[in-house]
Structures are given as structure tokens and as C-alpha cells.
Symmetry: C2
Subunit: 326 residues, 2 copies
């Protein structure tokens, strides 16, 4: 749906420009190397979905103070910190079509710059002087680390249950997106019931976003995706399409799937063979339908808000989260 | 001064027990692996200097609420997080006489567990609902990362200035110890002038502590130190004794020193030769005298407080920080 993407982009143009400026203004480390290493990933064409959700959620609650733009950088800095560390942890090669930070600046600097961004995010959060916001932000950070560790500890495990997959993606992706929406509401001083609705909306968007992301590894092309197709599996990350199919495949077919999955050096042909088997067991269709359920739930929540541009944009984001191609 | 150490230990016995219990109670991750990997370093015989300073500073200001013990775990968790990451970054082998965490759990888990501890520290800080405390804690975290990056970016640089060394150690060690004392005062609701005095006391203790630590690399024995003597230099970390001596050595002698410094595989004999040259230029004596100046300054600050056991303990810690053997 490139039309949807363009429509969203033109709606959000001003906000996106403000976010870019705020990211530059609020990075400000003492050490030049931190700017360079952090900037490499921060300014590499991220979609800014998380800070946008933060700003839109605050706006939906009637909050228009320009501080929200600065506040939204917290979410992007946290996100960037986890990407930096995840890429080191997974020894990834490409992110957003560029070599990963640690291939340029080395793992040590990259780890420390990630730490700096975590701390910077928290420092900005403290400027709200709102203990609840700060607590939500620090709890999100805890959850993300644990989600990543949980994923790592189940690396390559072909017996990973769907429920555990859902738990991992909620921790490592869901909570931050949920928190982006929830803290927008808190910042706006929204009533608890409204805060909860936005938090729930974010919960669904987070799941859609990660399931869609995991699907891209089986449906996209490398040149569009900005990273190598099949990268998840090569890193031992079993995601919903393959978990679902493994639960349904039997006998020699299942053995064949496992053989490809466990061989990190699988060829493009073997990967295509695997995709066919996943698809024949409905793994791709099932993942899409799970994601769709969450899209619907997110849009239903938006339906309870009064009509308006911000509400419509948040509904469109639910569709976009599922149907994006990168 | 083993007598001083034992005297301090017996004075602090109850506090130390409380700290141990609080560290166990407040780690509580969702993931078993996090407990194991974090516990490996947290419960490996650390001196608990930082949480003790935190508790004593609060007590000096009349604060005796048991919450201070829980609060003090923040400081130890932050400290542990940075040690975990530093050991990965430096690829160290031994810490406190044990193999480093990443040699057992792998660098990926260790990086993520460090992140978890950073976040856990901040989450506990938010329980104070005191924005100032939370801000101090998050700013300390930023500083520590930057100090470590600064050190890393000057790795092996034989032209490192003494002023830059001081800046690095203040960032990577000083701010946390300073913050331990300052947040103790804030927690106690101390007057700004008292908070500042305790912060200054912590500033001096932090510098003493790191300079003494750096000196041990040139004066201690491996079996006592709990890590290999000469490890700093092998990791390319130039510290005060060698910086001072390099500034004074000339010609062939300086060249010889640089040759040993730049060769990370130096032999024990070469290292002894280097120590002799450092000593002959007064590098060790000078470092000791800088540290002593800060001990005196710290004790002078304590002298402005009313006499009492807590004040005396804090004065003793100043002496201990310089004269410890591990």
C-alpha cells in the first residue's frame, strides 16, 4: 500500500521534521565519538513510528505543548539503544540498508553508545518531573532487555511455543510502542480510562508491527527490506510463520524444515523451499490473520474517540503497520 | 592497613548484611538467566563501598528509614551494569578473582543483563517519586558511559594528558560515588548546603578510589588483587603513574617505556622494568600524593559535621579508599 504510506507521510510531514530537529538537539553528548556513532543509526532513515505515536497520542488527548516533541525523542533514543545492542548481540551486518554501527565503530563503542542513549532517554524523561512517566519509561527498558534475553536464550529452539513467541515480541517490541502511546496520554494529563485505551491501542499496534516485521523476512525482497531476507532465521530467531508451520508439519517434512532451520548457512534455494513448506501449512496466512485481528482491535479503540484528523491518522497507522513493505 | 579494613567491616556489619539481602530482593527479573548472569558478578564479593556511602550519607543527615537500604541497591546495580559492560568492552578475563561474566554467559547475554541492571536501577529510583533523585541517577549513568567511551577512544595513546585522565576517572568512577553521597543527602531531605558538602565529599572519595585502584596495577600482586597485575596497561589504559612518568622521561628511556606500553604482550620482566622507570620519575609517589590531597579534602569536609560514629566512619572510608590492597 504505497498510497497509504504517502498519505501518512504528508499528514505527518511537519511532525516528522520537528522530530528530526529534536533528535539532533537532544543528543548533545560531551564526546564527539558518541555523536558520530549514535548518529550513524539515529539518522539512517528510521520511520519514526514510535515518536509519532507518542506525539499523536498526546494530541488525541488535546495536548499540543511543543515539549511533546522533545519528549518523543525518549522513545526513539530507547529504540535506537536497543537496536545498537541487538545488532551487536546478534552480530547483524545490515540495518536500514547500511552497515551496522558496530562494523564501523566496533562493538565496544557501540555497546557504550547504546548505554548512553538509554541514560539520555531517562534524563529527558526526568525533565517531565512526572514520576509516573519516568516509571513507565524505566519499566519499558527493563522489559525490552528481558525480551531480548529471553529470545536469545531460546535461540534456534525449534520447539519454541507460539505463546512464548508472543511473550517475547510483547516484551522486546510491544511494551515500547505501548509506552509511546501511554506516556503521550499521561503527558496530556488524560483521564485514567483514556490513558488505558491509548495503552491498549499501543499494545495492539506493537504486536502488529512486530508480527508484520517478522513476516517480511519470509515475504519481502532483500533490496527492498534494507537487510538480508532470511536474516532472522540465520540468527536463530524463530518467528510466527515458522512456529505455526512446525506445529503442523509431520514426519519427513518436519525433519526437512528443521534441517534447513538449524543450518545457518542455508542456501537461497533451501530458504525458498522452506518458505513453500511454511506457506503450505498456512504459516504466512495465519500470521497475517493474527496481525489483522490486532489491527481491527486497534481501530476499534480509535473508534471510541471523537472523529478528527488525529484519530484518523492513528487508525491509518494500524493499517500501515501491517501492510508496509519495509 | 588491614586493621582499618577490619575496623570498618565490624562497624558496617549490619549495613552490609542489609545490603546483601536488599540486592537479592530487588534483582527479581522475569527470566532465570538474568538472575544467574547478573548474580555471578553482583554476589562475587564486591566491597559494597558505593551503597555503604549512600546509606552513611543519608544517616549523617539524620535519615534512618529502612528504604535507604533498598535505595542503595540502585548504586550497586548501576556499578555492576557498568562493570559487566566494561569487561565485555575491554575483553577482560578476571574480575574479583573469578572469570568475567561474558566468559561464562557470552557477551550477548552479558550486554543485555547490563542493560537490565541499568533499567532496574532507574526503576527503583522512580519509587522515590523524587524527580531530583531520578535526574541525578540518570545523569550519572550518562556520564559513566561517556567516561568509558572517552577512555576507549584514547586507548593506548601515550600522549594522554593528566587533565584528560582526571576527566575520564571523574566521569567513569567519580560521578557515581559522588552521586551515592549526594542522593543519600537528598533522600534525607538535607539542606542544599549539606547536600553540596556530601556531594563534594563523594567527589574527593571517587577520585581517591580510582587513583588508588589505578595505582594497584603497579604496586599489588596478582594473587591479592583478584585480577592480573598490569591488566590496565594491557588493555591500553594509561593511568596517572605512567602518564606522569611519560611526561618526565626523555630520549631513549621514554622510547623504551613507550615500546613496552605499546606492546600488549609485554613480559612480567618488561613490566617490572617499566615500573622501575615509572617509580624513578616519581610517578607512583606523585599519584599517591594526588590521592592523599583528596583524602585530606574529604576528611576536612567531614570535620565540618558534628562529631559522631557516622562521621567517623566516613572519615575512615577516606583513609581506606587510598590504603586498601584490593
Amino acid at each position: 500500500m504505497p498510497g497509504l504510506k504517502n498519505k501518512l507521510l504528508s499528514r505527518m510531514e511537519r511532525d516528522l521534521e520537528n522530530i528530526e530537529a529534536a533528535l539532533r538537539q537532544n543528543l548533545t553528548p560531551h564526546i564527539e565519538l558518541v555523536s558520530k556513532a549514535a548518529g550513524h543509526l539515529i539518522f539512517s532513515g528510521g520511520k519514526r513510528l514510535r515518536p509519532l505515536l507518542n506525539i499523536l497520542s498526546a494530541r488525541l488527548c488535546g495536548y499540543e505543548d511543543p515539549f511533546v516533541v522533545k519528549f518523543s525523542t525518549i522513545i526513539e533514543f530507547l529504540h535506537t539503544a536497543t537496536l545498537l545492542h541487538d545488532d551487536v548481540v546478534d552480530d547483524a551486518a545490515i540495518r536500514r540498508g547500511k552497515p551496522v554501527a558496530h562494523s564501523i565503530f566496533g562493538a565496544p563503542v557501540t555497546v557504550l553508545v547504546g548505554d548512553f542513549l538509554l541514560a539520555r532517554a531517562l534524563t529527558i524523561a526526568t525533565q517531565t518531573e512526572n514520576p509516573k512517566i519516568i516509571r513507565v519509561i524505566s519499566e519499558i527498558t527493563e522489559s525490552m532487555c528481558q525480551g531480548e534475553i529471553q529470545q536469545l536464550s531460546r535461540k534456534g529452539d525449534v520447539n519454541l511455543a507460539e505463546s512464548e513467541y508472543m511473550e517475547v515480541i510483547q516484551r522486546k517490541t510491544g511494551f515500547l510502542i505501548q509506552g509511546a502511546c501511554q506516556t503521550g496520554a499521561i503527558l496530556a494529563g488524560a483521564a485514567p480510562v483514556i490513558e488505558k485505551q491509548l495503552s491498549q491501542y499501543g499494545y495492539h499496534i506493537g504486536l502488529v508491527f512486530q508480527i508484520a516485521d517478522d513476516l517480511l523476512d519470509y515475504t519481502a525482497q532483500t533490496n527492498i527490506l534494507g537487510k538480508r531476507v532470511g536474516a532472522d532465521l540465520r540468527e536463530g530467531k524463530l518467528t510466527l510463520p515458522v512456529i505455526y508451520a512446525l506445529n503442523r508439519a509431520e514426519g519427513r517434512e518436519r525433519d526437512k524444515m528443521i534441517k534447513i532451520i538449524e543450518d545457518e548457512t542455508f542456501t537461497p534455494d533451501e530458504f525458498q523451499e522452506l518458505i513453500k513448506m511454511i506457506d503450505s501449512h498456512g504459516g504466512i496466512a495465519y500470521s497475517q490473520s493474527v496481525a489483522k485481528t490486532h489491527v481491527t482491535a486497534a481501530k476499534e479503540i480509535m473508534g471510541t474517540f471523537p472523529p478528527g484528523e488525529t484519530r484518523n491518522t492513528l487508525s491509518m497507522i494500524a493499517d500501515y503497520a501491517l501492510n508496509r513493505s519495509t
